[in-house]
Symmetry: C2
Subunit: 328 residues, 2 copies
Amino acid sequence: MKKLMNSPDAFVDEMLAGLVAAHPSLAQEGRVIRRTGGTKKGKVGIVSGGGSGHLPLFTGYVGDGLLDACAIGDVFAGPSVDSCIQAIRAADGGAGVLRLYGNYGGDRMNFDLAGEMVEMDSIQTTTVLGTDDIASAAPEDSAKRRGVAGIIYAYKIAGAKADTGAGLAEVTATAQAAVGACRTIGVALSPCQIPGAAKPTFELGADEIEMGMGIHGEPGIWRDKLRPADEIADEMVRRLLADPVAHGSDRVSVLVNSLGATPLEELFIIYRRAATLLKKEGLAIVRPLVGHYVTSMEMAGLSISIIRLDAEREKLLAAPCACPFWRV
Amino acid sequence: MKKLMNSPDAFVDEMLAGLVAAHPSLAQEGRVIRRTGGTKKGKVGIVSGGGSGHLPLFTGYVGDGLLDACAIGDVFAGPSVDSCIQAIRAADGGAGVLRLYGNYGGDRMNFDLAGEMVEMDSIQTTTVLGTDDIASAAPEDSAKRRGVAGIIYAYKIAGAKADTGAGLAEVTATAQAAVGACRTIGVALSPCQIPGAAKPTFELGADEIEMGMGIHGEPGIWRDKLRPADEIADEMVRRLLADPVAHGSDRVSVLVNSLGATPLEELFIIYRRAATLLKKEGLAIVRPLVGHYVTSMEMAGLSISIIRLDAEREKLLAAPCACPFWRV
């Protein structure tokens, strides 16, 4: 797989250097991206992080009304404990820091250790884990689910809540409720390749797709021949509605997200069908998102996320924010 | 090549249906996308258009402070004369309409014919053609150059100018000057495939790239082995500076644009190098754009555009606007 890079070792650092060069609102300190302006005194800080290779996740969501800082690792590898500590310190405005990231073992271990370390600086922290991927564990094991694209809703909602001046416990509860109201399912068409790796992260036949595959190529629900877009959308929506977060005439937002190489044209073909089905169920769609929000470099495929909006979440989702990759 | 679609024949119409379903600011009438709110009475209208398969170009740039309407064709095929007529009528606010689109034979023929037809409605039209691709013709034949990603700068600048209440001649002159101050060069890593076609638009070896290739696979300058990113960026910037639009301490904007499958990570690695080189020349970079702005579906590769900003263009580039794919 051809990549425009100088060397696998330089991939992440040169990518971060370009990110902050293009976006003066972001500042880089090693493997941490923070808001150039820092965290407002008295505002709850929000940190996230994880492996590289998912832009605009994670670092692209640092900005006013969203994240305060991110710790970032090598491609598909969690950030170091030191980076997590540094990100928490950068996010601290004196009112505590919420650690809001995807449910992956390595990330948890390092963010947890970092949380213990910053206690010595008297920085209080809490944790909310993204667990939206319904293909990664059964409903009764929902706490074991991985976090995928849906976490960006939690970023926006928690970020807006923190901007209201709410305290750490309240911001944490709002983020946890947002995660609890959100579900995602993905479908993979072709793999990506980690810079320097000898081969792609997985293999799929020239006419095969995999329903439910994770963003690092974690095994999904089934692998079979490519089907018409509407059949695929129907199954994805059916699976989301079978693990329900919304009923009746609830208001929801929907995210149709490219995993990388899948173009906007195909996202809109899928969105058109998914929106029709959800409306037929009686649900009202508010502020849908269609685009490249959480990717795996050049992987082809997409995910559909749905989040139930109560009155507060709808208001927080609509609140002004400023970061390079979120459009209100 | 796997595509999430229902049938090649339905590809464009279903894509447009999804686009307007996701973005209520856009309205669809057949193969025309226009602003739901219509064109303000007395404002100069701006229309564009071309073949499908380049999202967010063209239709994604319809919105306040940008385009008023777009005529859109099948994938990589120009819009029909009827669609062009319909788009011009939709864009008309009584003050004339600028036709602003890329320099491709079929598009010119149909937009020109449409212009003659709407004269009978007493709609005055003018034309400005995007001609930014320096690889498509020599400087002495610059009027023969194709339009590629740089045209989005002309959209933004002409759209903001029209919003000031300027007349048709003035908006046209501003758009023409923006095109004249802009240059682009691309590099291709892998092809895309037209829905329903038996094979990709071109072939490239597993380790080959093509410098200067057009967005539909038009032949470029050279084809050779993949090189380190900095070497590629150096050559692209060198070629842009050899066909100069900016000198000394001029202020410029720079667009590093994915042709589709090339991820943000690689765009930022290239941007980092390009920005360093341009700053070393003494140029000041203002409002850089890095992302998916003008694509060819799942084609891998990128383009770099540079536009010189005089005081007026810089102000117009920064003016507020509202469309799904432009972030101020």
